[in-house]
């Protein structure tokens, strides 16, 4: 058994939505842990609760019931400002649709989390440049997202997720909008980041993508169906 410390401990966590007079249990009493340097894929059919889980893990949303501990802190009890701080310091997001600001060049996009962290402009520049180099875009720092390919755009987004050295990287269908070859490039980057010690959780519905990870969690109807190595 692994001796790596826990980063995330979730117990009996539920998220309910009411649609009209109908109660939707998007997550139903889930127990789940992640340790440092985990590299996990969350899979499941559409509507099984993957995005809901990801939003709660990323502190974008709060659970209806249950406990969510991130680095020993109970996130369910945090106020808005504390949640913003956790998102800023502990979590790096990668989205299916990239979510870069088209008017800003790569460097400016990547430095955004550092602005909200109160990092000085000089240090922001240096760290953003380094993050872009890590994803192989050191020569594209002054390009705007519109001038890049889909794969390059997602790499910029990964650099942005990395730049503030988060405890976990959360990626919701990061290859969902990319072709097979480009998807493999992106998974190579995640692989390298994992080898470097990062904790990575990604959502995917493609088995070939999930096979790059070391742990696959399958959801169905808001419950964990299985949790195992690929």
């Amino acid at each position: 058994m692994s001796e790596r410390p826990f980063i995330i401990r979730i117990s009996s966590l539920s998220k309910h939505y009411t649609m009209g007079d109908q109660l939707v249990k998007a997550l139903d009493k889930i127990d789940l842990d992640f340790r440092e340097n985990d590299y996990a894929a969350i899979m499941g059919p559409s509507g099984s609760g993957k995005s809901t889980l990801m939003n709660i893990l990323g502190c974008l949303d709060t659970p209806t019931a249950g406990r969510y501990e991130l680095n020993g802190q109970n996130v369910a009890e945090m106020d808005d400002d504390e949640l913003a701080r956790v998102r800023n310091r502990e979590i790096g997001f990668v989205f299916q649709t990239f979510n870069l600001l088209p008017r800003l060049d790569c460097l400016r996009n990547v430095e955004l989390p550092l602005i909200y962290a109160g990092v000085s402009p000089e240090e922001r520049l240096e760290r953003s440049r380094k993050a872009l180099e890590e994803v192989g875009l050191g020569d594209r720092i002054d390009h705007k997202p519109g001038e890049l390919s889909g794969g390059q755009t997602q790499r910029v987004a990964i650099a942005r997720a990395l730049v503030n050295h988060p405890s976990i990287i959360l990626a919701d269908e990061p290859t969902g909008n990319l072709d097979t070859a480009t998807s493999r490039d992106i998974m190579d980057i995640f692989g390298r980041l994992s080898d470097a010690g990062n904790t990575i959780i990604l959502i995917t519905h493609e088995e070939e993508i999930a096979r790059f990870t070391r742990r696959i969690i399958r959801l169905r109807d808001g419950r964990i169906e299985s949790d195992s190595a690929p």
Binding site: N55, G58, L60, D61, D80, D81, A84, R85, R87, N88, R89, F93, F95, N99, L101, R103, L112, P113, I115, Y116, A117, G118, V119, S120, P121, R160, N164
Partner: protein, 421 residues
């Protein structure tokens, strides 16, 4: 504490960048949005400029009426327009000046320095050869007149005590008369014709300018009292000008002068004054209704356009929040706090208003310069206070109109916003 201050600085810097970008990216929309503010600022600055100008024009044009001079007249300026109340009063006589002077001389502690008689007519004209100036203001007075008026001479001199006592046919003329009758030559030494008398010009006043087109001292002709009555006979328009010791003690001086006049008129105690004692302040307050009218109109127009402008800005900012829902969600996901988003949109609306305010100020300034060039007599004056007030009003408008949309942006749910198409 220090690091959160730094964070505040960096976040504000980012908000400023975003605001500048948004305004540049939506130039026409921003301009239309700011239009209400622009009109409001133009209205309020033009109002202030006009009011300043009236005050300034008054100071400038009526500088011949000093603050340290009071006027004994039949009526009172502060109740101008009610001439019927004074109809039955006895006329003021020029000899009162001499009587007042005699009493002052015997009283070293007097608030009064010297009294000068003035008899005048507006039904006068002056000729020189084939030129004629109609509707001049002719006045007979004593050599002490310059003590009670501050008009400088551009040529020649004022008449002397001897000329005054003898009633010599000499005169000092205003600039309009000088340039009208002697367009290409010196006026002094020449004789102008008043009715069928020749009167020699000994001095010319510097140009004073018009005030609101109402008053001008540039068409006056001043001569010894004796000469005046020889030409025009005795006219009823008589004033005793009295110079006082201290312009801060006008009430005391008026009090003393009232006593002197009652003595001269031999009014028994209990009988009301049958003369008026006037001062510049009373005359100046005649303009208060005009100034108030301008202020009310200006404030009304300003208020209306700022109100319309604020609603427009609120609307546009709401649209802007809607358009950028995804961006707001992203920024929150990356660590922006509520107050950061709130600030971002407030700064944006404040900046639109500030730009509008500055455009408004520039417009008002251009109009002011234009008026000054086209109508030099029209009083306008720009002041730094107006600039400051305009900028403050612009900022306040921005905050008021941006607050509601900014709050709604700051409360957006990040998870929902990120899904927004």
């Amino acid at each position: 504490m220090n690091s959160s201050l730094q964070q505040f600085r960096y976040e504000t810097g980012e908000s400023l960048n975003i605001a500048v970008y948004q305004i540049k990216a939506n130039k026409i929309r921003s301009f239309l949005t700011a239009l209400g503010v622009i009109i409001g600022i133009v209205a309020i600055t033009m109002m202030g400029t006009a009011i300043n100008g009236i005050d300034l024009g008054f100071e400038k044009s009526l500088s011949m009426i000093g603050y340290d001079v009071v006027y004994v007249q039949k009526g009172s300026w502060s109740t101008m327009g009610q001439w019927w109340r004074y109809r039955n009063r006895p006329d003021i006589e020029t000899r009162y000046a001499a009587e007042i002077n005699r009493i002052i001389e015997g009283n070293p502690g007097s608030e009064l320095i010297v009294a000068v008689p003035q008899m005048s007519t507006i039904q006068a004209s002056a000729r020189y050869r084939d030129r004629e100036i109609l509707q001049i203001f002719a006045m007979g007075t004593s050599h002490d007149y310059p003590l009670t008026a501050s008009g400088d001479l551009s040529a020649g001199r004022f008449f002397t005590a001897q000329e005054s006592a003898a009633g010599d046919a000499v005169c000092v003329i205003g600039d309009d008369i000088a340039s009208g009758l002697f367009p290409d030559g010196r006026a002094t030494g020449k004789s102008v014709r008043l009715k069928n008398h020749n009167v020699r010009v000994v001095g010319v006043f510097k140009k004073q300018g018009k005030f609101l087109g109402l008053f001008s001292f540039d068409n006056q002709l001043i001569m010894p009292l004796g000469a005046f009555t020889k030409v025009y006979g005795k006219t009823p328009m008589v004033t005793i000008r009295v110079k006082i010791r201290d312009e801060k003690r006008v009430p005391e001086a008026k009090e003393e002068l009232t006593g002197l006049m009652r003595r001269i008129r031999r009014l028994p105690p209990g009988k009301a004054d049958d003369f008026g004692i006037n001062e510049q302040q009373a005359f100046k307050s005649q303009l208060d209704p005009i100034k108030n009218g301008i202020a009310v109109a200006g404030i009304f127009i300003t208020g209306m356009s700022l109100f319309v402008g604020a609603i427009g800005i609120m609307n546009i900012t709401f649209v802007s929040v809607k358009e950028r829902t995804r961006e707001i969600g992203l920024r929150k996901a990356l660590g922006a706090r509520r107050r950061t988003i709130l600030m971002q949109f407030l700064i944006e609306s404040v900046m639109i208003c500030l730009v509008g305010g500055i455009i408004g100020l520039a417009t008002a300034l251009s109009i002011t310069v234009l008026i000054q060039n086209l109508l030099p007599d029209f009083p306008v004056s720009f002041s730094p206070m107006l600039v400051l007030a305009s900028l403050l009003i612009s900022v306040a408008t921005g905050i008021i109109s941006g607050l509601a949309p900014a709050i709604s942006a700051s409360r957006l749910d990040p998870a929902v916003s990120l899904r927004y198409e």
